[in-house]
Amino acid sequence: MDPDAVRCDVAVVGGGLVGAAVARGLAGRGLSTAILDEGDVAHRASRGNFALVWVQSKGLGMARYGAWTRLSSDAWGGFARELREETGTDVAHRRPGGFSLALSQEELEKRQSALVRMHNQPGWIPYDFEVLDRAAVEREFPDVGLDVAGAVYCPLDGHVNSLRLFRALHESFRARGGRYLPERPVEGIARDGAGFRIKTARGPVLAGRVVLAAGIGNARLAPMVGLSAPVRPQRGQVLVTERCAPFLSHPMVTLRQTDEGSVMIGDSAEEAGLDERIGLGVLGAMAERAVRMFPKVGRLNVVRSWAALRVMTRDGFPVYDRSEDAPGAFLATCHSGVTLAAAHSGPLAAMIADGALAADMAPFSARRFDVPAAA
């Protein structure tokens, strides 16, 4: 019939951090797995992210997201060791605990009250965090700027080298027998017997199962398998300085020093559609806040800046779904592809390999958006 068709047990649509992590997990469970990816010019959040493995602020409004994040963060150490053993690549995972610095008393109180509300939610699995006053922050970081009023510290937070993570996931996927098929934007997905026939720019792919992990592209793809993915792009901008000697022992939510010495400054959020341009206004505001946190950073040269598009849902939480109409079709999407990589490669891939998402994944279904608006 289709002599040229690619055949596999599972086709993962999207080769970013989410797709590669899930595909690697599937390939490690004995399934012949193919990643269908776009080309180099794809809107690829995986190349632009800030590389935190971050826990402390995740889950207000959905306790299950807090637990899922925590699970991934706890699994990250073993996950990084596995990647190193399989690929020789050290993704530089560190978990020294992370700080959110507040530049005013009001900002500190706001953060504190959000944390208290988050930890008081029903079903919340508690973990430690500390709210530090200025004196305590100064003891930890003698160079901290005069405007810093305090900080929130959580020992579970960490960071990685996310470009090396991206590469290691793909190398591990290939080492496990997975096939990476670039330049294959998906044009259509149809049921085909017990499986799926996927129309791509370079010919059909016949797959027993399909996993949609295409970031913003999931919004277009999901209806093809009876699902929905109400995601939109949210622009984030990042500034990177020249490499300098280690001076910052912990990641801050908007500022961190990489394993190779660069200082990354980030965490802006703008609604700008698919516009990936940077702007001096936002970059300037980010730099100004960074210098107020650590005045010494102001003497460093900026060597790079970029913008990338987060994959955002209305409530900011991930979507994991299994199609009722098209059994064997799954969807995964989130804006925390680094933090959740260990969960995606481990438990999520295991569930997809078993053919069903666990009952406790129900809160992540996009059906949560199918409620009538309040009058």
């Binding site: 490499r243 300098c244 000697a245 001076f247 650590f294 010494k296 003497r299």
Partner: protein, 100 residues
Amino acid sequence: MFRRLPDAAAAARELPFTLDGEPVSGREGDTVAAALLALGRRAFRRTAVSGAERGPWCLMGVCHDCLVTIDGAGNAQSCLVPLRAGMAVETQRGRREVGR
């Protein structure tokens, strides 16, 4: 490796400066990089990641291999900075320190 042209050597005024704390001198019109090269220095710094030696390569502000610390500020492109009398120039070992 580098020698000054005889005419230039005779004409230009000498500018004293320090290199890693040692008193040395260059000539008016030198960039910091040119002065160091004329003093016989080839390695200006060690790289941030592997610690390998680096010296000027392009001498026109592009390659960033001639970085030195000038008057306490690290990662200065020595090929773009005119030499001034009294400068404190230091070769840089590895990464710049954030406060300097």
